[in-house]
């Protein structure tokens, strides 16, 4: 399995049968290819569909059928279309079980920054602030370090926040970290990765359980 697939599979392992899930653009969507057998989840896309199906075959795209990333989609049996106010009532009202998002930065308090780099890039928060505020469980899925090798998991985010203290799990190519009141707990290492490698790639303090030492 390549890196993306490994992360996707690890995300999907968090899903429970019957869950309603919202996946952010990019890496998080990799999870749909790895949903365990016997686990049925319903995907929401915040532009207004519950029950998003797989990408259509080439030539089968419907111009009015996209997900929140702008990609063409299909609808599964039992799907529903609705307006954006209802869509965010689902999200903000706490009816999404799991949301998975990418991050520019995440910190040991569970703070997330993923919508702007002042002076450089201001794509806007889109639906991310509502998702992170409202979902029952917020998972960050990303490469452990940025393209230049700098840590993205920090003591304190210094980019503008998406939401404060809402992230509960961080899944990267190197490891899985749980956000606890005491700080970031190293839950799992990816195959072939050492504790020291994770420590070196992370600015935040890590809590290393005995069994991983």
């Amino acid at each position: 399995m390549d890196k993306r697939s490994r992360i996707g599979a690890r995300i999907a392992a968090e899903f429970k049968d019957g869950d309603y899930i919202n996946l952010g653009i990019g890496l998080p969507t990799e999870a749909v290819n790895h949903i365990p057998e016997g686990v049925r989840v319903t995907l929401q896309s915040e532009n207004g569909i519950l029950g998003t199906g797989p990408q259509p075959a080439e030539g089968e795209e419907h111009p009015d059928m996209i997900n929140a990333g702008g990609g063409f989609i299909t609808a599964n049996p039992g799907a529903v279309f609705f307006d954006s106010a209802l869509s965010f009532a689902i999200i903000r009202g706490g009816h999404v079980d799991v949301t998975v998002l990418g991050a520019l930065q995440v910190d040991q308090h569970g703070n997330l920054a993923n919508w702007m780099i002042p002076g450089k890039m201001v794509p806007g928060m889109g639906g991310a602030m509502d998702l992170v505020t409202g979902a029952k469980k917020v998972i960050v899925a990303m490469e452990h370090v940025d393209k230049r090798g700098n840590p993205k998991i920090l003591k304190e985010c210094n980019l503008p926040l998406t939401a404060k203290g809402k992230v509960s799990l961080i899944i990267t190519d190197l490891c899985v970290l749980e956000v606890t009141p005491a700080g970031l707990l190293l839950k799992e290492l990816s195959e072939g990765v050492t504790v020291q490698e994770v420590i070196d790639a992370t600015e935040a303090e890590l809590i290393i359980p005995d069994e991983l030492k």
Binding site: D17, G18, Y20, R40, T42, Q44, I49, L50, G51, A75, P77, G78, A79, V80, F81, F82, A85, L86, F88, A89, I90, I91, R92, G93, G94, H95, V96, T133, G134
Partner: protein
């Protein structure tokens, strides 16, 4: 994903002192099987949230007649002498809420909002003890979200994903309350196979539905 249960099983989940939002308008669209089961369960000291107090023998009137309601947020009592008598005797606490405000306050809870600003009730007794907020030079009352532990609602059909459609004016408060219960229990005429309800026509997505009871009365 919802679980199918009986009305009695639904009623057994609702403990004394629960806050229960109940659908219907003058008992049209009221979940009568669920209400009957709560009557049979003799649950006490309920707080109910409902558009109107219905009649003594229909809708939530049956709970009032059976003295199971301690307090209510409601917009209209005019059709139910019993609730007025209990109110006058100090046996039931009534907060009268303008109907549109009541719907927005319930909707707000379901949508994760803390409340809304409305002009309705300004200059009336409704504004007593409420905060007045000025936006763009106009005054509004701050009306907080109304939380509920359970929503008991009535729909026409559900599919196997819990998606709901309603029947005519029996829709009324039901889709709003469906979204607002911490636990939402729906009484339906029938459960149809998934695919039978058109994705464009579904009013309430199944994500809001926890339990479904097929009507028993």
């Amino acid at each position: 994903m919802f679980k199918r249960i009986t009305a009695a099983e639904a009623a057994a989940m609702i403990k004394d002192r629960s806050r229960v939002a109940i659908g219907g308008f003058l008992a049209v669209g009221a979940p009568e099987s669920l209400i009957d089961a709560v009557v049979a369960a003799k649950t006490k000291d309920l707080h109910i949230i409902v558009i109107a107090s219905d009649w003594e023998d229909r809708g939530i009137g049956k709970l009032v007649a059976n003295r199971q309601v301690r307090s209510a947020q409601v917009s209209h009592l005019g059709t139910n002498r019993e609730i007025q008598a209990q109110m006058n005797a100090g046996e039931i606490d009534i907060e009268l809420v303008p109907q549109g405000t009541l719907m927005e306050r319930v909707r707000a809870f379901g949508a994760g909002l803390g409340g809304v600003l409305t002009p309705t009730g300004l200059g009336t007794v409704v504004q007593e003890s409420k905060q007045i907020i000025t936006v763009d030079g106009k005054e509004y009352l701050l009306e907080p979200a109304i939380p509920s532990d359970f929503a008991l609602i009535r729909a026409h059909k559900a599919d196997e994903c819990g998606n709901l459609v309603y029947s005519k004016t029996a829709r009324n408060s039901n889709p709003i309350m469906a979204k607002a219960g911490r636990i939402t229990i729906v009484e339906v005429d029938e459960i149809v196979p998934t695919g039978e309800l058109d994705p464009e026509h579904i009013v309430t997505p199944g994500v809001f539905v926890d339990y479904i009871v097929v009507k028993e009365v």
